[in-house]
């Protein structure tokens, strides 16, 4: 077997790689292709037969989700929660990550290690107490409740990510500025933060994506129509045995657009963040 494998010439190996990549690529694109085409099909066509392209392309599914199913409201809710969470979390986490990587004070080492530990607590364990706490604070069906719940896992995650990034950039300029009489806070503002922009952008993208894509807390904490998140709104298209496939696909396309655009704009940053090995998958 080993011998056989070694005797395969390089060109055959390349063809083999090509076949493997093509096969996996097809599997990736298969559901996405049908999501895209089905969104433009009439209901009758979706259920009756297999068509590779919409026979009569229609925007009726999009009109449906926008006019009849309150998708714009859900999108607005999700945007409010995602932007607020991102803004709050990034400030909190950058400050903490800076202190935990650059300052020397008692308790630092324990907290730095604790960040990772917190990150590993099972989500299912947090679900029930978080639900009760949010309910007791009368924050169910409110933006604030969703922001709080999302912060609970975003802050440790983002702090960890930023700690990794700060460790990767040299502290020489910063120390030089301190020797020249700059205060810690001034050097944080004028030196460390400008140097960390790629890391901060990566962290913000991850937080925004996590909140935008979050489903479980959104399902449990915001059942009210007016505060419903897009993830819950879309999953409602699958009610027991009645599937509204067309609107579901159209809504999915709308919901994933911001994520995809953000990702294309920031691919460079995301890849470097990925290399840091700090991403959930």
């Amino acid at each position: 077997m080993t011998r056989l494998f070694d005797r395969v010439p390089e060109s055959v190996f390349r063809i083999l790689s090509f076949v493997v990549i093509s096969f996996l690529l097809l599997l990736i694109l298969f559901p996405l292709y049908f999501m895209l085409t089905t969104a433009f099909k009439f209901e009758g066509e979706i259920y009756s037969e297999l068509t590779w392209l919409p026979r009569e392309p229609t925007l009726s599914n999009f009109r449906d989700v926008i006019v009849n199913f309150h998708i714009p409201v859900y999108l607005r809710n999700t945007l409010i929660v995602a932007l607020s969470t991102t803004a709050i979390v990034v400030v909190i986490s950058v400050l903490a990550a800076y202190a935990l990587t650059r300052l020397r004070f008692p308790g630092r080492a324990v907290m730095a290690r604790g960040v990772l530990f917190v990150y590993l607590i099972p989500g299912s364990l947090m679900l029930i107490p978080m639900y009760l706490i949010i309910a007791n604070l009368r924050l169910k069906d409110s933006y604030l409740g969703l922001i709080v719940a999302n912060m609970s896992f975003s802050v440790p995650f983002c702090t960890w990510l930023m700690m990794g990034y700060l460790r990767s950039i040299s502290s020489e300029i910063e120390e030089a500025s301190l020797i020249d009489g700059c205060t810690r806070l001034l050097s944080l503002w004028y030196i460390v933060i400008p140097l960390s922009i790629p890391g901060i952008v990566t962290a913000m993208i991850f937080i925004f994506n996590n909140v935008w894509n979050e489903f479980i807390f959104a399902l449990v904490l915001a059942q009210d129509e007016r505060h419903r998140m897009i993830s819950v709104g879309l999953s409602n298209f699958y009610r027991s045995d009645y599937y509204m496939v067309g609107p579901m696909m159209a809504g999915s396309l709308i919901a994933m657009t911001p994520v995809v655009i953000l990702y294309i704009l920031a691919q460079r940053y995301v890849v470097s963040g990925l290399a840091a090995g700090a991403v959930k998958g």
Binding site: T2, R3, F5, D6, F13, S17, V20, I21, I28, F34, I46, E49, L50, V91, I92, S93, A96, L100, L103, R104, F105, G107, M111, G114, V118, P122, G123, S124, L125, L127, I128, P129, Y131, L132, M151, S152, F153, V155, P156, I179, L185, W212, N213, F215, V220, S231, F237, D241, Y243, S252, A255, V259, V260, Y263, I264, V270, V271, L274, G277, G281
Partner: protein
Amino acid sequence: MSQKTLAQPLLVRPAKQKKRSLFAGDTRLGWLLVSPALLVVLGMVGYPFVEAIRISFTDRMVGRGPGEWVGLANYAYILGWPDFSEMVVRTVLIALTAVFLKTVVGLILAVALNQTFRGRNILRGVFMLPWILPTYIIVLVWRWIFDGQTGLLNQILVSWGVLSENYPFLARTESAIAALLFVLVWKGYPFYALTFLAGMQTISYDLYDAAKVDGAGRLGRFRHITLPGLRQVMGVVILLSTIWTMNSLEIPLLLTGGGPSNDTEVFPLLTYHLAMQNFRLGEGAALPIMMLPIIAILVLAVAGAMDKEAAQ
């Protein structure tokens, strides 16, 4: 004081004094900067964690006040539940199988992508799609594809003549488990592949050249250079992913909902069902706490297996 004694400390201690002035005031500033994050972690992670333990000793139900202290009754209830051991085995098997498949497919893709060819960056971007797209969308689409009545897979297989009539993939035990594994792997392996690929690109070409000179074949180079070089990256990814896959609630909830007849009911899903459908918060809180040691054992086992692999 003579000139000499005054000059000496200045000559000997400047380095230390510089350090002291650099880090003077760090303690106060450090705690000040950490405090918002600490508050969030203590208030929104630490406190709920303690609450989860406390609730697990009560008979608390949704909308019925704080509940009575019942000691270990919830734990006894779950342990005495006839399907408990089956559920644990199922959870562990599904998680381990999914992680194993993600690792294998991820490695294969990483090796295939670790060559220079045109369009590689675009391809890498496309392969990231499953990882960046919202999980709920991916699962809902696959659920429609696997659906027994109007699902796409049935339409395709019937129109190609592979099946004579629709097959309810999500309503049969084997195919439902297979579908769950498939979606877990589909969603997860690209992340593995891309981290492995990033790790492979840090391995020096000199090592491969030296191995070639020594007569090592392709498989030998993979086993003795690529795999050891990836050990650390693989270790972190596999460990974290084992934990996350075990705890995955969204995918089974949206894909199968635990069915058919509890055949895909994994522990996070059971927690959800106990708490959010039966409103039994006490039992719902006890279950993940009972699973903590199992998760710990699993993590140690995976770590041990990887150490053994490395020792060989």
